[in-house]
């Protein structure tokens, strides 16, 4: 009897000591085939496009890893992009889709520059607001994608029925589906987020976006786009999707005494009202993604963050001041904070919260130096 008990104890100890995946590594529990797809996808993710292989004519970066690279592929980056939209007096938010919006690319290929003499896509006069968007990391996004819509709706409280001053609501894509990806939670699925980014960020057409769009509403001149459409095939798109989908979330650092107190304070002053510590994924075909807890520290809902942070409207729901709760997993690897990167420290970002977060921000300001330091130690562990 002793030997089996000892064996079981060893197994338990080994399991307890099992290290979580390193940053940039895949989720535990993938099949061999899924792991192979992940590795293949990283190759496409890290590749650099040229005009001959599909880059441009308008683009923000030459490939995924040109932005998502810090500190490893899939991470954040220093590049910011420009979005614009028009909020009409009727309240309708026009994404300026027929005039190149809502993403206005900041770079052009040499052929387009030679043809038109432009260095970027111009923002049309019809835009009422524009905004900078930093590059987020994409670690753990597969798990976020696997959280059921029903979980988001259960967290939503659009009319603040519970009177806690927090009224998160879902954004919806133009076809009515619930959104969750992007700073305004517009994009419904990770597959769309991944595939669409090729065209939006690199000007690389894909099966679901088989045209280059326009230059602020005007057609591209002949001869500036040498590669035939779509410039990237279904198989390469699927590989990149597998890479991003299977990227493991960053493992939090081990908490010391201060960090544990900070974690408690995080809940006590209300941060966890929006930065919900954990979401649970639903059933799904990938075992490594199904029925898992993900310590994302987000509710994936829109919240009013106050006029000081407001920029553009996007979609049928998100007003200029509304932003999706930013996931905090991987926070310690970030160098710029908030949707436009205006904050250079976690503390500064916290102090810039307004709107529904004002009460928590005020409570943070009112903390003793020791408690504030403890809370920042906790946040710095994520």
């Amino acid at each position: 009897m002793r030997a089996p008990a000892l064996g079981a104890l060893c197994v338990l100890l080994l399991a307890a000591c099992e290290k979580p995946p390193e940053l940039g590594e895949p989720l535990d529990g993938l099949t061999e085939d899924q792991r192979a797809r992940f590795d293949e996808g990283r190759t496409v993710f890290d590749s650099v496009f040229t005009p001959e292989t599909g880059l441009g004519p308008l683009f923000n970066a030459e490939g995924c890893a040109a932005c998502h690279s810090a500190p490893v592929s899939g991470g954040a980056g220093a590049i910011s992009e420009v979005h614009a939209s028009a909020l009409l007096p009727s309240g309708f938010c026009d994404p300026l889709a027929d005039r190149g919006g809502p993403v206005f690319q900041q770079r052009v290929t040499p052929a387009l520059r030679d043809a038109l003499g432009i260095d970027r896509e111009p923002i049309p006069p019809a835009a009422t607001d524009s905004a900078l968007r930093t590059t987020p990391d994409v670690f753990g996004f597969g798990l976020l994608d696997a959280v059921p819509d029903s979980a988001l709706l259960a967290l939503a409280d659009p009319d603040d029925a519970d009177g806690d001053g927090i009224s998160g609501r879902v954004n919806r894509f133009f076809d009515g589906r619930i959104g969750r990806f992007g700073r305004k939670a517009l994009v419904p699925t990770l597959a769309e987020f991944n595939e669409g980014a090729f065209q939006i960020e690199s000007g690389v057409t894909v099966p679901n976006v088989p045209d280059e769009g326009t230059i602020a509403g005007d057609p591209f001149p002949d001869g500036v786009d040498p590669a035939p459409e779509p410039e990237l095939g279904e198989e390469e798109v699927a590989r990149v999707d597998a890479f991003v989908r299977f990227l493991a979330p960053p493992a939090p650092a081990k908490l010391g005494r201060d960090g544990r107190r900070g974690e408690r304070l995080f809940g006590e002053i209300g941060c966890a009202g929006c930065h919900v510590p954990s979401l649970r994924t639903g059933d799904g075909p990938v075992e490594a993604l199904a029925n898992r807890e993900v310590a994302a520290y987000t509710d994936l809902l829109l919240h009013d963050m106050g006029e000081e942070l407001a920029d553009i409207c996007l979609g049928s729901v998100a007003g200029p001041a509304e932003f999706r709760t930013e996931p905090l997993m991987g926070l310690r690897h970030m160098e710029r904070f908030l949707h436009d990167g205006r904050a250079t420290t976690i503390e500064e970002a916290t102090l810039l919260h307004g709107g529904e977060a004002r009460a928590s921000r005020d409570a943070f300001e009112a903390l003793s130096p020791e408690d504030r330091s403890a809370l920042l130690a906790f946040l710095g562990s994520l």
Binding site: H83, L88, S90, G91, F92, C93, D94, P95, A97, D98, R99, G101, P102, V103, A126, P148, D149, S150, L153, R172, F173, F174, D175, G176, R177, I178, G182, L186, V187, E192, F193, E195, G196, A197, Q199, I200, N208, V209, P210, D211, G213, G217, G282, S316
Partner: protein, 124 residues
């Protein structure tokens, strides 16, 4: 709004047809052979031109496009299962449009106002 539509309308009709085809949801491909209502399009109304057509915002991720869909005397417009006039559709309204082949290209057979929660596929 109308100015924007004219700008789009000034493009070659073939571009509109191609755009409509590119963003049409392929679910109706399973329709019986010979079925005339070839495709379905879902999106948000951007503008309405009474008796002529409707501009719909659709797309993929943030690669958004505006598709102009023509209507004719046979187009049925409904909201909450009730017939309504095309002019009752407002910018921001999510619609499901079933297209059929008309004499001059695709035309809306039905335009149905969709409530939040009635999105394609329902809740996941």
């Amino acid at each position: 709004m109308i100015g924007a539509r004219r700008r789009l309308g000034a493009r070659p009709p073939t571009l509109l047809i191609l755009l409509a085809a590119a963003f049409a949801v392929p679910e109706a491909r399973a329709a019986p052979p010979g079925h005339q209502e070839a495709d379905t399009l879902r999106g948000t109304v951007r503008a309405v031109e009474e008796g002529a057509g409707v501009e719909v915002i659709t797309g993929f991720h943030l690669a958004l496009r505006v598709v102009y869909v023509r209507v004719d005397g046979e187009t049925r417009v409904t909201a909450a299962d009730r017939p309504v006039a095309l002019a009752e559709l407002e910018p921001g309204q999510v619609v499901r449009i079933r297209l059929r082949e008309g004499v001059e290209g695709p035309v809306a057979a039905t335009i149905e106002a969709v409530r939040p929660g009635d999105a394609p596929g329902g809740l996941r």
